[in-house]
Symmetry: C2
Subunit: 143 residues, 2 copies
DNA sequence: TTCTAGTTTAGAATCATTCTAATTTTCTTG
DNA sequence: CAAGAAAATTAGAATGATTCTAAACTAGAA
């Protein structure tokens, strides 16, 4: 064989997105970007992501996954959702939208942005700026 | 002395509220009820509550505090807020209102209900009922 | 007063997340 | 391409909130 080919087009795309975000396209970051930055809307926890990476043949240290998720968050590539169960979930959907939370499982369900009229921002306390607005409807399965 | 007097009026009130909620008025539950069910709006974590109880001369096991907070929550006497830092905060204000969260400190600030028009409930997924709606505006101190 | 179910308790256990210090990679620059 | 510095990754320990456990205590009924 003359040359190692890139594993897939996505892999190159992922590397480009990383460079655009000033993140070195390491093997680990590329593997994560391939899963999470492919345009599909998802909610993942660090542990879920690890299992997925293992299944995909790209196991890596949990610490690395946490590092990457934080870096992706700071780069604006992912959005953390703090309202679910114990674990933080990362949302690949960066658009303006909100969530139902199944109180029992911690699972998130997107609320269609058309279905709810977003409230206007109330006046903020002095010296602060709004970082995000989250509207969460906690759901319980009917008995 | 002929009789042991109740420590305070609140103590008796607290016991009544507990009985009304089908919770035995134990020494520990009364101490907590006195602090949290006196009508003032507050946000407390389990650890903060423990410090307060120690300062008040009513130290008790952290496990008991967690137990009580959960029981009070189930009885509808307190409302948990999951959006803050790592720890769950319990809100003594049961009215319809929402929160600012200082992202750095985890501190909650009530949003005056008059200042924001509550969004209508979106259509819920089948088989679920809404347990609560939380609107949270995450704040960061301006640099 | 006695009994029993309901409570409290100290301390161990758990779970998500962060930290640490050592090893490995990436990306220059020569 | 070789070498080195800076950036990343890693295993495993540490942390912090919360839950669990099993034993000791207490409230309220009889």
């Amino acid at each position: 064989m003359s040359e190692v080919q890139p594993k897939s087009i996505l892999s190159e795309e992922a590397a480009m997105k990383l460079r655009a975000a000033s993140l070195r396209p390491t093997r680990q970051r590329i593997a994560i970007a391939e899963r999470l930055l492919d345009g599909r809307a998802r909610h993942v926890s660090a542990e879920q992501l690890r299992d997925e990476l293992v299944a995909y043949g790209q196991p890596m240290a949990l610490a690395t996954i946490y590092n990457c998720l934080h870096q992706f968050e700071e780069a604006g590539l992912l959005r953390p959702v703090h309202h679910a169960g114990d674990a933080v979930l990362y949302d690949t959907n960066l658009g303006d939208h909100h969530h139902f939370v199944d109180v029992e499982t911690g699972e998130l369900i997107d609320i269609d942005p058309g279905e709810i009229l977003m409230p206007e921002l109330p006046e903020l306390p002095d010296g602060f700026e709004a970082e995000s607005i989250e509207l969460t409807v906690r759901l319980r399965r009917k008995s």
